[in-house]
């Protein structure tokens, strides 16, 4: 935390000569950068103020003040260096993690997208349905004493006026334009289009009773120039927090699950987001659809990640060793060629390989196997092998790069000494180079394992998890790993997307990967100590 650093370093204790004096350019840069940051902050704060988001506003103001304090005070150099990093860490890592953690405890997803207020207003909006075959009224918006009125012209040319309080009544003395549309009425001021726009929220909310009988419906406009007779199919009772169907009298009450539900179990289409506690986690472990293929998918995920790391490392190391010969010609060209797959985006490679491996039209079968119909991606076992091979193709350049670097940094004299002692090249490699190499490369292998454990792109683009398992109802296939299964379960096949469940499952995966990484890092420490 930067604040503890700030209190510890006090500028007064530093000898004056040791304090770096600000150069003119440095000072200027500081002023400009800080000014830009503050300008941006002012902009953000204004926007937040206008949107009345007070919590975020206070938070943003606090951060801005903190940043200014850090850079305007003398000394506190570590804080000046750390502040940007910590700031971005908080925004891009910590916040995202906390937010997914929060989502995991809600039912956020399709049908539970926003707040209850939004849901209620959306339901009310949708419930306003035009009375079938009712005529269209041409409307002029007029105003009297600050209250808006509709000056309407019906299709037969009859002219009326009305407001939210007073039902429509005839106003035949109105001024009409060439088309017979009433445009002005004595005692009222006609609104210009821009005034209508400026007050659109009020005008759109206006419901003008058609007559004294409320069952006749109300006049509403959506564009300020035409009005129709609407009658709501659902009415909201604020006190009881229920919707009532105006036709059948069915009452829809808050179900406690983020929806309005009638007694016989019918839900209104629009729901809202609520906190559901551990329901998503319970579902992840108890839902038969998920539990069924879970074991198989978990096993394959481990196999996939482990084999991917080992195969890419083995090939990368072999090639790095082979191309590390001091007197090899054209070494650079070879190395560049070797690294090419690394420059390929994984999702693109997946698509390209999926085409290359087409049984009938693919390049691989037609060129290397004489047109044989080998189902590379559609046979369960072959699909697994294909995924591993393509991932090897994609992943070895990274290992090649890493190993080349590590090999070049090994001390030459050890090799010389071993050679003098009569060690064979194989002995030299296994007893000296490999252990030394592992010290520096082992953490990268762990990182690579964690990456492959969640290697969504290659699976999604190459096989999309297929071929599908036949013994389960959920759409999971032989090459699905945990993360693609999460995607499938949460977004793929159910009725819409379920962010809550997806977050809960991701958190579970996060703990698996974290546990494995911690264990492995302990192991590598032991490796270092031996060395």
């Amino acid at each position: 935390m930067p604040t503890t650093e700030l209190t510890r370093t006090s500028p007064q204790k530093q000898p004056r000569s040791l304090r770096p004096s600000d150069s003119m350019a440095g000072l200027l840069a500081k002023i400009i950068l800080l000014g830009l940051v503050d300008a941006f902050a002012v902009y953000v704060l204004t926007v937040l103020f206008l949107q009345e988001k007070w919590t975020v506003l206070v938070l943003a103001a606090g951060v801005t003040l903190l940043i200014n304090w850090i850079y305007l005070r003398r000394g506190g150099l570590p804080a000046k260096y750390l502040a940007p990093g910590v700031f971005f860490l908080l925004i891009f890592q910590v916040f995202v993690m906390i937010f997914s953690g929060y989502v995991a405890f809600t039912n956020y997803g399709d049908g539970h997208n926003s707040t209850k207020e939004d849901a209620i207003s959306a339901i009310q909006l949708a419930a306003q349905q035009r009375v079938p075959d009712s005529p269209a009224y041409r409307v002029t918006i007029v105003e009297q004493d600050g209250e808006f009125h509709f000056l309407t012209t019906d299709p037969d040319g009859g002219i009326s006026i009305g407001s939210a309080e007073e039902p429509l009544e005839e106003a035949s003395d109105a001024v009409t334009d060439g088309t017979g549309k009433a445009t002005e009425l004595e005692g009222y001021r006609t609104l210009q289009f821009n005034e209508v726009l400026a007050n659109q929220a009020d005008i759109l909310a206006l419901t003008i009773p058609f007559s004294d009988d409320p069952d006749d419906g109300t006049l509403k406009t959506s564009d300020g120039s035409t009005a129709y007779v609407y009658s709501p199919t659902l009415e909201y009772d604020e006190a009881a927090d229920t919707f009532t169907d105006t036709e059948t009298g069915t009452v829809y009450a808050d179900s406690g699950k983020g929806t309005f539900v009638s007694e016989d179990g019918n839900e209104l289409s629009t729901g809202w987001k609520i906190d559901v506690g551990f329901a998503n986690f319970t579902k992840a472990f108890s839902d038969e659809n998920i539990r069924g293929p879970l074991l198989q998918v978990t096993l394959w995920t481990f196999t996939f990640a482990l084999v991917s790391v080992l195969s890419t490392f083995a090939l990368g190391l072999f090639l790095a060793n082979a191309f590390n010969l001091p007197n090899l010609r054209g070494k650079r060209i070879y190395r560049v060629l070797m690294i090419l797959p690394y420059a390929f985006p994984a999702f693109l490679a997946g698509l390209v390989w999926s085409g290359l491996l087409n049984p009938e039209f693919g390049y691989v079968n037609n060129t290397f196997f004489g047109g044989a119909n080998i189902p590379w991606l559609t046979d369960p076992l072959l699909a697994k092998i294909s995924v591993l091979l393509v991932n090897l193709w994609l992943g070895f350049p990274y290992m090649f790069l890493v190993c080349t670097g590590a090999l070049q940094s090994l001390p030459e004299d050890v090799n010389e000494a071993a050679k003098l002692d009569g060690a064979t090249p194989w002995k030299l490699f296994t007893s000296i180079k490999l252990p030394l190499l592992l010290v520096s490369v082992a953490p990268l292998l762990i990182a690579s394992f964690a990456f492959n454990f969640n290697n969504f792109n290659i699976i999604y683009m190459l096989t999309d998890g297929g071929p599908r398992l036949s013994d389960t109802t959920v759409n999971v296939g032989a090459t699905d790993i945990l993360i693609t299964m999460v995607y499938e379960v949460a977004f793929g096949s159910g009725v819409g997307r379920d962010y809550g469940l997806a977050s809960a499952l991701s958190i579970v995966i996060f703990f698996i990967v974290a546990a494995i990484s911690i264990l492995s890092f302990r192991q590598t420490k032991a490796l270092e100590e031996i060395h």
């Binding site: 002023i31 000014g35 503050d38 300008a39 939004d118 959306a122 821009n194 049984p359 009938e360 559609t378």
Partner: protein, 431 residues
């Protein structure tokens, strides 16, 4: 003490300097925007004054240019400019759903009608009232845009598949799929073609969308339809008795059968082969006609061939404009959508970029002077709207995987089809 004061002074100068940079930057940013006034003053002449001055519309790259001229005329008439924000089509639906509740969503969005179910479920779309203008559109377009009794979008185009025929190979249109197969096989035997019939099948999901006309022709729709044409998601009809018969047909046509349907032929490969003149038939939509004509194929569009006794009804997709439920500019958005986007010019312009039959009858009639547009339009008039109900999302995965297994010949129709129906029913009731 002296050191203290200079330090203080120094700090204050620094702060002031930083502040002035800040002020400059803020004024530079804010210079362009006009603050909204509440328009109480007497009749201002500049119509742009008052209210917001911009409507934001999310549109994909292909359609944006067609909307520019209509947006310009709207700005000329009302002073409101339309910001056509080009978005990636693949992500725009989900972005809209997540952005609207935060207040950062657009006022309008362009998209197909089957988004409506999810939009309504999430409370992000507002109904529109076309009034008498609704009668100027083709009935199927209005029907597709209606959901739970309200109209949710202003349609501009109708798209559906048709049977593309290479008229140089087969001069006459066929009525049934058996005739199509016979014609195709004759062409292959004569050495003119390599494939009797082409349709792109996804290697993971096959393509129930393209297979749907054959299925409906055997009397197996997905969901029951109410009298007004809307879908009743509680009545899944895939399990109708003819479902298994259709499944048997897939096996008969598939890899293990006659090979009319080839699970190795993806969408790209199918297009490539038809363009290369290697097949007399290609089941696809208007989006591939342009490329085929450019490749020199003499393209004719035939009505969809029947398999059973009933008409072969394809899904129709209706593209249109939707208004956000939380638009701060709803009145202007409605004005633009209802009174500008429904005009003949606007609909003609959209036809110009997409080549899809316009939803406005007047525009369609003009476009239908092209026999290909007319043919697609005729097929569409016979089609059924793609179900917009959210339950439809639970259907695709099982439907596709089962059809794929049947085409590959790895599943038995009597087992696979009922199992699929059971799976889908379970997913719908769980959702």
């Amino acid at each position: 003490m002296k050191v203290q004061t200079t330090r203080l002074l120094h700090r204050r100068t620094l702060a002031t300097a930083a502040l002035s940079v800040a002020v400059m930057a803020v004024t530079a940013c804010g210079g362009g925007s006009t603050e909204s006034t509440t328009g109480e003053s007497a009749a201002p002449t500049n119509l742009a004054e008052g209210g917001s001055t911009t409507l934001t519309m999310w549109v994909d790259a292909e359609r944006a240019p067609a909307l520019e001229s209509i947006a310009a005329s709207f700005e000329e008439d009302t002073g409101i400019s339309i910001d056509l924000a080009v978005k990636d089509f693949a992500a725009v639906r989900d972005d809209f759903i997540t952005q609207v509740p935060t207040g950062n969503g657009p006022d309008l969005i362009v998209g197909p009608h089957d988004w409506i179910g999810t939009f309504v479920e999430n409370g992000v779309v507002a109904p529109v009232e076309l009034g008498d203008k609704a009668g100027e559109f083709q009935e199927s377009a209005i029907q597709a845009m209606s959901y739970e009794g309200s109209l949710y979008g202003v349609p501009y185009a109708i798209e559906n598949i048709g049977l593309l025929r290479n008229a140089d190979m087969v001069p006459e249109a066929a009525e049934t799929f058996d005739e199509v197969i016979a014609n195709g096989e004759a062409a292959v035997e004569a050495g003119d073609a390599e494939f009797p019939f082409l349709v792109g099948l996804d290697p993971k999901q096959a393509d129930p969308y393209h297979m749907y006309p054959f299925q409906t022709s055997m009397g197996v729709p997905v969901f029951a339809q109410n009298e007004d044409g809307s879908y009743d998601a509680s009545k899944l009809l895939l399990g109708e008795e003819n479902g298994v018969e259709f499944a048997k047909k897939l096996v008969e046509w598939g890899d293990a059968g006659s090979g009319i349907l080839n699970s190795n032929i993806t969408g790209d490969i199918a297009k490539e082969k038809f363009l290369a003149g290697e097949s007399p038939y290609y089941l696809t939509g208007p989006w591939n006609v342009g490329a085929a004509q450019e490749a020199g194929i003499n393209v004719a569009v035939d009505p969809l061939p029947t398999v059973g006794d009933e008409p072969a009804q394809p899904f129709i997709g209706v593209n249109g404009y939707f208004i956000s439920a939380q638009s701060k500019n709803a009145l202007a958005a409605n004005e633009f959508a209802v009174n500008y986007l429904t005009t003949e010019e606007a609909q003609d312009a959209m036809f110009g970029v997409g080549g899809r039959p316009p939803a406005l009858t007047a525009s369609f009639e003009k476009a239908a002077s092209d026999p290909i547009v007319a043919a697609f339009g005729e097929i569409g008039a016979n089609g059924v709207p793609m179900p917009a109900v959210p339950e439809m999302q639970a259907v695709w995965a099982d439907w596709g995987a089962t059809e794929l297994a049947l085409i590959k010949g790895t599943a038995k129709p009597e087992e696979a089809w009922p199992a699929m129906v059971k799976n889908i029913e379970q997913k719908i009731s769980a959702g």
